[in-house]
């Protein structure tokens, strides 16, 4: 009853729609694979080639601030969004449900604080990992008088209509992390991407292990686009190196499940010569499984989480850590402010995606930070460091 009362308060009894004009589009061309099963539907050869080329590209921009750097910039004009500050910036966030997003969001908040003379209000809405809620959230934010909207989409295809609706509302939209299937945002910010991540890890593992050896691939979940691209690039690398991928298992990010899987694979095959994973969350658990079984830890990849970097150094592992840097959470704030200044920005804004290797390991290993902190946060110069991230 109260709901009906609430509705009548609004008494805007005309037919209306929030639907954007264009429907969602975009299709992926599938490639065929071999010993590791069918290639993922997400695999797009052209994107794969482009990302691998970017791995060797030289970025433009200040060398000590990778979050402001751009690979192969293509500038777009933003004069029509020029506006006097201070601004109200709104952010529709897919979720905060894992350490990567937590570290990233803290970095973003710190960037907002660093720019507080130019930002009068920062509104953050957490969609809790639900597409349906994020669509509602974006619609909701459009009624709040934001000067710029930042979106980190939960799913590419399903958030496209909502982002198009936001573009049509006339305010500058900045998308980062996952993309959308539309060109309407002013810029799309992300690092090189999943193909680059998956390729770096897989290439390292197949080069360091004995030829034709046995590789175990550990994945978090099926059906998540960023993770699918990582695996599909790894698959290409493994097929090319002709290594024997003995298993592709899903761990749900659960370390106990990971240990059991690795344990059973060690028992089944006697030895595993390489481990590849699509995210670092269970890297330490995988290392421990080898230790507890009394086996040497084979060449493997992790991510830039400190618990893995620490065990890598302490146990002298043969390892590599491709990253999906959390410093990309700083860039949308910087980009939004530049757009509101009418300055040109690059679209797409491709950030460099560094890799932690044996040579630069010490540079990233900060023993004072918590085990699940991401080394590549680019946050050491921000207000509140290090306490904010602890």
């Amino acid at each position: 009853m109260a709901a009906i009362a609430a509705v009548t308060v609004l008494s805007l009894a005309a037919c209306a729609t929030d639907e954007p004009a264009a429907g969602p589009s975009g299709s992926a061309s599938a490639a065929t694979g071999s010993g590791t099963g069918d290639q993922s539907k997400f695999f797009v050869q052209a994107d794969y080639d482009a990302e691998l080329a970017l791995l060797d590209a030289a970025p433009t921009g200040p060398a000590d601030k990778p979050w402001e750097q751009v690979l192969n910039p293509t500038m777009v004009d933003t004069a029509k969004f020029k506006k006097a500050g201070p601004h109200k910036i709104c952010f529709s966030n897919a979720a905060l449900n894992n350490p990567w997003r937590q570290v990233g969001f803290k970095t973003m908040q710190a960037e907002v604080e660093a720019q507080k003379s130019r930002i009068k209000e920062f509104v953050h809405v957490d969609a809790e990992g639900k597409d349906q809620k994020q669509i509602a959230d974006i619609n909701d934010l459009l009624g709040k008088g934001c000067d710029a909207l930042i979106v980190s989409p939960n799913t590419t295809a399903t958030l496209t209509p909502a982002v198009e609706a936001a573009c049509k509302a006339g305010l500058p939209v900045v998308v980062f992390d996952r993309g959308v299937d539309t060109k309407c945002p002013v810029t799309f910010i992300n690092p090189i991407g999943g193909y680059g991540f998956g390729h770096v890890g897989a290439e390292f593992v197949s080069q360091k292990m004995k030829p034709g050896g046995k590789v175990l691939a550990l994945r978090i979940l099926p059906g998540v686009d960023v993770l699918e691209t990582r695996w599909s690039a790894a698959k290409v690398a493994f097929d090319k190196a002709k290594v024997d991928v003995v298993g592709v298992e899903f761990t749900d990010g659960d370390p106990a499940k990971t240990k059991k899987i690795v344990d059973d694979y060690i028992q089944r095959y006697g030895t595993i010569d390489g481990v590849w994973m699509d995210a670092g969350a269970v890297a330490v658990a995988a290392v421990e499984a080898f230790q507890d079984a009394g086996k040497p830890v084979p060449p493997m990849n992790g991510e830039d989480q400190l618990d893995f970097l620490k065990i890598w150094k302490d146990k002298k592992l043969t390892a590599i850590a491709p990253t999906y840097p959390t410093y990309q959470w700083r860039t949308p704030i910087i980009a939004a402010l530049r757009i509101l200044d009418g300055q040109q920005v690059s679209n797409p804004w491709k950030l460099p995606q560094p890799t932690v290797t044996q040579d630069n390991l010490d540079q990233y290993l900060d023993a004072g930070m918590p085990p699940l902190h991401y080394a590549m946060c680019g946050c050491t110069d921000l207000p509140g460091y290090p306490q904010r991230w602890k």
């Binding site: 905060l96 449900n97 894992n98 350490p99 997003r101 937590q102 570290v103 994945r219 099926p222 003995v246 298993g247 592709v248 298992e249 899903f250 749900d252 990010g253 659960d254 370390p255 106990a256 990971t258 240990k259 059991k260 899987i261 344990d263 059973d264 694979y265 028992q267 089944r268 969350a281 330490v284 658990a285 421990e288 507890d292 918590p370 085990p371 699940l372 902190h373 602890k390």
Partner: protein
């Protein structure tokens, strides 16, 4: 999957006690044979010991869940309780070995307290336990994320992790016996003895028919509350072993409540209470763990696993339910 086995089995086993452990033993035996064919060295003492050790947490959770279920209730909060315990332990210990024992005691107290709250809300406020423990699940998950700012902090000491990760080395005949296995054996024997005591009989009577139990002088609310406390304690021990086995993570307890309930039902215990044995519940958990290992050994595709698991659970429960209901 349903059509593999006809409903009326041609082979007539001797009439079973409803809630008996024979069906689950049969399933377990079949799985063991299947594993043995594929991976004969799995049955060697050393690897069998290590398998039992890593299965100890879920077996204990199943035992804890059994007490609640046989008394006619549910406990959906155990998975979140395990996660909360592991995260709390890491933050409080903060890699300082001298804090290990105080934190272990604190975790046990915390588990018992959550059980007590579940029990009192269910029995005194008459909230169905499904709702009480679902609410508790939401509260614990939310609170632990809130408290830790979304990412686990601190670290577990090697002393704490020892319980779930280390073992007695060089034991004659058996080789390596995990501490977790020892904990499991002690607590399993205690659970069986408890079910043979007066309390055990009362617990089953309460689950079977609370009215009758009440009329014959049993304080139903007290018995059920005690069952919840036992489940909370089991979750605390499981958390200590699990945290030791695999370290800190928000995923530590994810989904364990459904695993434990499934294990209990597989073990021939009736949801709704009054029927089944604690040994059956623990064997049910062992069966689920063995099924997991079996799929690893046979290389069942990661994505298809839930289908296989769901099919086997439905088949097993349907077969035993139709048999025992033709009383």
């Amino acid at each position: 999957m349903q059509t593999v086995q006809p409903r009326s089995l041609p082979l007539r086993l001797p009439r079973m006690r409803p809630g008996g452990v024979l069906p689950i033993l049969a399933i377990l035996a079949v799985l063991l044979v299947l594993v043995g064919i594929r991976q004969p060295d799995f049955l060697a003492p050393q690897s069998l010991m290590s398998f039992l050790g890593r299965s100890a947490p879920i077996i204990l959770l199943a035992a804890g869940q059994y007490f609640v279920i046989v008394s006619g209730e549910f406990d959906l909060s155990v998975g979140s309780l395990v996660t909360a315990q592991v995260v709390v332990a890491a933050r409080l210990i903060d890699s300082d070995p001298s804090r290990t024992w105080p934190v272990v005691l604190l975790l046990l107290a915390f588990g018992a307290l959550v059980g007590l709250v579940n029990g009192l809300i269910t029995t005194r406020l008459r909230v169905p336990s499904f709702i009480t423990t679902l609410g508790m699940f939401l509260i614990l998950v939310g609170a632990v994320y809130l408290w830790s700012d979304g990412a686990p902090k601190g670290g577990l000491s090697e002393e704490f992790r020892r319980f779930g990760r280390r073992a007695f080395e060089d034991v004659p005949l058996l080789g390596r016996v995990p501490y977790a296995l020892l904990v499991l054996v002690v607590l399993a024997v205690a659970a069986v003895l408890l079910m043979r005591s007066d309390f055990g009989r009362t617990l089953v009577a309460v689950g079977d028919n609370p009215r009758t139990a009440e009329l014959s002088g049993v304080r139903v609310w007290r018995t059920r509350t005690f069952a919840f406390i036992l489940s909370g304690l089991a979750a605390a021990v499981a958390a200590i072993l699990l945290g030791g086995y695999s370290g800190v993570s928000f995923q530590a307890g994810a989904g364990l409540e459904f695993g434990a309930i499934t294990a209990v039902v597989l073990g021939g215990v009736a949801l709704g209470g009054g029927r089944g044995a604690v040994v059956g519940a623990m064997l049910g958990a062992l069966t689920l763990e063995l099924l997991f290992a079996l799929m690893n050994f046979y290389g069942v595709s990661g994505a298809l696993r839930s289908t296989v698991q769901g099919g086997i659970i439905l088949l097993a429960v349907a077969v035993s339910a139709t048999r025992s209901s033709s009383r």
